[in-house]
Symmetry: C2
Subunit: 211 residues, 2 copies
């Protein structure tokens, strides 16, 4: 009988290794893009020999695919807030807060996603066509209902969603530009709050959900 508490089981160590590699890969893919990233650099960041990466992830592409899928999952979770809301001010406001927080905490992931889509989504095209499309249609229906109920102005739901994505992800994808324009310093807590407030104010007022 094995001890009830071991330092770490074999399965746990496998998960830890995969997590370590995925974390390093996310960082390197975000900084260099898929083409610019090298397995050697990912291995160095993870502190493992390169051959070990290929034991857990047979190819560079399979590793990359896993990174992108993880990001997509985090993204989808932010939708729960949207759905549970009572009206546009609450739902869209909370969605903006959630997505801004993701941009702040997972900027690398957002960059990898952006890079993938910009290059024509060679790896996750199927996700765009299935999961993302269904998600978008579901949210568009909610927005349309809010409009019909007179709780916000008539706005094309698709373009509103694009605007929400664009604005919130901009703080991750173009974080370096924002940081440079901020005098070289990352946004402070106060500045992040101001960013969230500005985005929410403009959009919520812009769709007539604050009256």
């Amino acid at each position: 009988m094995p001890p009830i508490r071991r330092a770490s089981s074999k399965k746990e160590r496998r998960q830890e290794s995969e997590k370590l590699i995925l974390s390093a890969a996310e960082k390197v893919f975000a900084e260099a893009g898929f083409g610019g990233a090298t397995m050697q650099l990912i291995a160095d960041v993870a502190g493992l020999p390169k051959a070990n990466l290929h034991y857990y992830f047979p190819t560079k592409e399979s590793l990359y695919r896993q990174v992108v899928q993880n990001i997509f999952q985090i993204w989808l979770q932010a939708a729960d807030i949207f759905d549970a809301a009572d009206g546009p001010a609450e739902g869209i406001g909370a969605y903006i807060d959630a997505k801004m927080e993701i941009s702040r905490r997972h900027p690398e992931g957002s960059k990898v996603w952006a890079s993938e889509v910009m290059h024509g989504a060679p790896v996750i095209q199927d996700y765009l066509e299935t999961t993302l499309m269904e998600w978008t249609e579901g949210r568009a229906a909610i927005i349309r209902r809010w409009t019909e109920e007179g709780r916000m102005d008539p706005i094309d739901p698709d373009h509103l969603l694009y605007m929400l994505w664009a604005t919130t992800q901009h703080y991750a994808d173009f974080g370096h530009q924002i940081e440079t324009l901020n005098g070289g310093a990352p946004l402070s807590d106060t500045q992040w709050d101001a960013a969230k407030a500005s985005v929410k104010q403009i959009i919520l007022r812009g769709i007539g959900a604050l009256d």
Copy 2:
């Protein structure tokens, strides 16, 4: 004495060759990123031998730098409309129209710029710190003046500018995603007009410039 009209002078042909290479490079860099792009592929797209590229542009980086600089110039030109305007509704509205049109006509350029900034702006960091910073401060001053004159709500000018950039460039950078969500078809003329109208409506109403 040379003929007054030749088919093409040597200097003209040099400019044409450079333009041809830059155009091909913009496309390939946008599709594959800096790391993923190869001089061979750029040469194939341009229909020239690879060695010829190195005659006009000594290194891959010098070619890339020129591509990014060209995009930046197009960007800056859109600012003229902003400056000449009488008030926020006219100025910001025209700026949105101009930037949306750039996203539509030069999506590759926008993608290259986005990719460059996302990867930490290794090549055009000096532009961010000088030209872009001055541009931003100048435009922020205008916005601040409009606010003081009571022609729009008090909004942090920086975050408003980020929102303008994010929203308009999203239609270029994430054009593939939008196209996929649009059923696989590029936005029609009508849909582009709707996009412009939606963006302008939300932002201009959101900053209180439509009352």
